[in-house]
């Protein structure tokens, strides 16, 4: 009887631990995203700032890889429009240069940014913790229906171009 009790309590502790892990609390991440260029007030958003913003879910969006293959995925994060509103981005901006921590940079046109988010989660997992996103930093820009080379990971700066 004692043994059953022990097994039960181990089970309960394990269940609690697992629930705790998957419960969705945002991880503590030291990361900053700068918004610069044609904006009224250049911004520096911490990871916690991004977590605290309104979150949008993009379900089953298609990413076209450079190999020509496509991948469906679901992403959630802060909408770019809200970030730009906060920074006072020029209404006449034509493109955004997304710059990654590893030096990769790409200019993305305004049209291609429709519905874009700064993603914090892939599916139910925080990007910062997802094994599939290892080495890709905690946030990436997701631009639905555009080639994957626009979906910059290790995103560090969004430079607004007029």
């Amino acid at each position: 009887m004692k043994r059953i009790g022990l097994v039960l309590s181990i089970g309960v502790v394990l269940a609690l631990l697992l629930a705790g892990c998957g419960g969705g609390g945002a991880p503590q991440v030291d990361w900053e995203l700068k918004v610069t260029g044609a904006v009224d007030s250049p911004l520096t958003l911490s990871y916690a700032d991004l977590v605290g913003m309104e979150q949008v879910d993009l379900t089953d969006v298609q990413m076209e890889k450079s190999t020509g293959e496509t991948e469906l995925g679901s992403w959630s994060g802060a909408p770019l429009d809200a970030i730009f509103q906060q920074a006072g981005a020029s209404a006449n901006y034509v493109s955004v240069t997304a710059i990654a921590a590893d030096g990769y940079a790409i200019e993305i046109s305004k049209d291609e940014l429709q519905g874009a988010i700064v993603a914090l989660k892939k599916g139910d997992e925080w990007i910062a913790e997802a094994a599939s996103e290892e080495g890709k930093g905690p946030i990436r820009i997701v631009c639905p229906q555009t080639p994957g080379n626009r979906w910059v990971f290790q995103l560090q700066e969004l430079q607004v171009n007029e």
Binding site: G68, S95, T97, D102, G103, Y104, A105, I106, E107, S109
Partner: protein
């Protein structure tokens, strides 16, 4: 009895574990033998695919930089010859010593390479460009550069014009077809060799570091940066201003340079006109000490329509005219270096009619054209 059984079992396991050993000889360009065995393939394991290690990786390790024909003799003495432009894409070396080329698998014993005739005319390498620029500007070459400075005068500025995908063979064809009237007025290009695999990221790493992939570690397409010191690092450390005008994205980390991207803001499907506009804007502000301008259009058109297609020819003409505008706007005392990162050969693959990544003449040879603007 138990002990004998145990020993026999151990021996069996050891034998199975080792597998049959094999060895093949690759004849190097200087005629010396390069032994290929399981260790050779293990050292190239990062490049292995399901089919094995690409034969080209072994050839490159054996210091072959361009291949016209490959002659493989198997362990039975049977000799097979391959036109490398055709066979390169489907040629693998397997762990058990068998090679699989063009659908046929056999044990290789001796491998010989017949290089393209153009190899004899090579006067420059992509790794020579950084030391050449460093010497012209009077600054230190990148610390791990293996290239040598080509003969060039001291210069106040260097203008590095990067014509993506315009390999030496295509350059000479374009010259003969009258597609590059402005480039034709500059000094004659040297026949140059790029590095392997001939693709933009690996070549750019060699361009900037003056060193081969074994040094800068950007050995394949998906590696976009290097920890090795670059020309841009040494130039900025010497207090020089380095500006890089790129297309809509950087293909390789250009740290230490002021970066100007050129997205296709007019939506005409090309960034070359945006690159030109950005380059002219930089020149109007004042010529940087080192100015890097990267045109992507010839490569894009080559992939999409194939080398020699009307669309690709139009793009070559357009880039030639853009080069003219930039060089004309640069101040006297500028050393102008026109070069390509790789060439392009015709293919018939899904979604593309041109490609590059092989040890073949059209992919590996590049023009390196040095002109002092007076």
């Amino acid at each position: 009895m138990k002990r004998i059984l145990f020993l026999a079992l151990t021996l069996l396991v050891a034998l199975v574990g080792c597998g049959p050993s094999w060895e093949a000889t690759l004849i190097q360009p200087d005629g010396s033998p390069f032994t290929v065995n399981r260790d050779t393939l293990d050292s190239l394991a990062e490049f292995a695919e399901e089919e094995g290690v690409p034969v080209e990786r072994v050839l490159f390790a054996g210091e072959h930089y361009a291949v016209e024909r490959l002659i493989v003799t198997d362990t039975d003495g049977t000799r097979r010859e391959y036109d490398w432009a055709q066979a390169a894409i489907d040629a693998w070396w397997q762990d058990d010593g068998q090679v699989a080329i063009d659908g046929e698998t056999f044990p290789a014993s001796r491998v010989e390479v017949e290089p393209p005739a153009l190899l004899e005319q090579v006067e420059a390498s992509i790794v020579d460009i950084a030391p050449t620029i460093a010497a012209a500007l009077g600054i230190a070459a990148p610390s791990q550069a293996t290239g040598r400075a080509l003969d060039a005068p001291r210069a106040d500025h260097v203008l590095l014009l990067f014509l993506d995908g315009l390999g030496y063979v295509r350059y000479t064809e374009a010259l003969a077809d009258g597609l590059i009237p402005y480039l034709a007025t500059l000094e004659k290009p040297r026949v140059g060799l790029t590095t392997y695999p001939p693709c933009t990221v690996v070549s750019t790493a060699s361009l900037l570091t003056g060193a081969p992939p074994s040094v800068h570690s950007a050995t394949q397409r998906n590696i976009h940066k290097t920890e090795t010191e670059t020309l841009f690092d040494t130039a900025t450390a010497a207090g020089l201003r380095v500006v890089a005008v790129e297309g809509y994205a950087v293909s390789f980390n250009l740290r230490s340079a002021e970066l100007r991207l050129s997205g296709d803001r007019d939506g005409n499907g090309s960034t070359d006109d945006n690159v030109l506009a950005n380059a002219l804007a930089v020149l109007e502000e004042g010529m940087p000490d080192l100015f890097y301008v990267h045109f992507h259009g010839i490569d894009d058109a080559g992939h999409e329509y194939g080398p020699g297609a009307p669309e690709e020819k139009a793009k070559i003409r357009e880039v030639d005219a853009a080069v003219e505008q930039i060089v004309e706007a640069a101040p006297p005392g500028t050393l102008v270096i026109v070069f390509a990162d790789h060439g392009m050969h015709a293919v018939n693959e899904s979604g593309r009619l041109g490609n590059h990544a092989h040890l073949i003449e059209r992919d590996m040879f590049i023009p390196v054209q040095l002109t002092m603007k007076q």
